[in-house]
Symmetry: C2
Subunit: 210 residues, 2 copies
DNA sequence: ACGTAGATCTTGTCATCGCCAAGATGGCGG
DNA sequence: CCGCCATCTTGGCGATGACAAGATCTACGT
């Protein structure tokens, strides 16, 4: 028996197959049957593991948010280390660039993160893991705003609105890039320029706030 | 014959049925067969008219952009009239609020506007109508920026980057609202506050630009 | 050691979907 | 009056997601 009847690690194997299909052919290529074929199991095996297609997508969204969270945190840490934590606003810009960079590099993965209607997790299996993963991702941004506030780069007060503003701006740019609504070349400085403008505007806008 | 064999206005009837299904049940409810059922014709009739499902969605996207363009233009005109064209930046804010308002009021309609992978127009039928409709929509924003520039509210220069910045911000907020990534109540002032912050930041950011 | 209960995976089936081919119907110009 | 052609229908094909029922393996209690 090359493979035991009980695969032993089918859960992980199915997710890997699903990621390959997603990055290769987009969300439409992620089919329960195609995932099963690539993993070398029967067509009903994925359903049993994830409770249906929505569950598979939900599991992928959780992993996607974890990957994105790691990249954002890494961008923050790296920038803060290089800058010697002198201007945390620059690190916040780096986080924004990492956000857009993730969307650029893995457009299909980024796309499914913002599609609640695709994922349909059975809460008896997932217990709100999706929301928790998204929350952890947002917290990276929010912590960055807090540091900026402590450094005096952003007005004091509740950090959520400012984090939301920054997130909204980065998300808008990322969505419009991945959906092809705007088209900036790989090395087009407009992307950085837009991000910079957004954050630069943020700083000056905040200081003049009522 | 209650209905003639040649419907006479099937094209419009199919689109109306499709819009009803979309606004009621989302994009997944828009099925060629369901559209045909609602219009009372056979299941293959829609394919003949639009060249497939992608063509139907493309036709809807064109109509959607036209509706959105009308609302944006109306918001601009109304605001300019009320303000006596004293502060065109306020009119630009009104356009942004109208953009987000459209996404709020018709989330499914707004969603399909930014999904190039859904629509698959046969160019022998559409001849780039989708891109033209989207361009006309963006022009409302760009013209607003030009007026703001002429009034001195925004730095002179090519208006596209500023229009892009404003569009990105509004689009990000709209997407995150429609996708449920953030949740602001219907009367939550945060929406207006975010829009105001975006534009306010825009103004002050621009003036301090290099 | 053994046997049963439950987890894991397979096989088979069904309704629905998008698409295509072929045929039926009706308007329109010669 | 006739034939052409757009319009619409009928029928069918392959693929998909979900479900039911069965086969196979693991684990745990005695």
């Amino acid at each position: 028996m090359s493979r035991p009847y009980h695969h032993g690690d089918l859960h992980r194997a199915l997710l890997q197959a699903a990621w390959e299909l997603l990055d290769e052919g987009g969300v439409d290529a992620v089919t329960l049957r195609a995932v099963a074929r690539r993993a070398g199991v029967s067509h009903a095996a994925p359903t049993h593991h994830f409770g249906g297609k929505g569950g598979l997508l939900a599991a992928m969204v959780v992993q996607g948010y974890e990957a994105l969270t790691g990249e954002l945190q890494n961008a923050w840490d790296t920038s803060m280390l290089a800058e010697g934590s002198r201007d945390p606003l620059l690190a916040l810009i780096a986080v924004g660039r990492a956000y857009v960079g993730f969307a650029r590099r893995r457009p299909h993965a980024f796309t499914i993160l913002g599609r609640p209607e695709l994922r349909n997790p059975r809460e008896d299996i997932f217990h709100g893991e999706v929301e928790a993963a998204a929350e952890r991702c947002f917290l990276v941004l929010e912590r960055g705003v807090v540091v900026c506030q402590e450094a005096g780069a952003i007005d004091p007060g509740p950090p959520q609105p400012w984090a939301l503003l920054a997130w909204t701006g980065a998300h808008g740019l990322a969505v419009m890039l991945t959906e092809g609504l705007i088209d900036l070349g790989e090395d087009d400085p407009s992307e950085d320029q837009l991000t910079m403008m957004m954050l630069l505007a943020l700083r000056h806008g905040l200081q003049s706030r009522r």
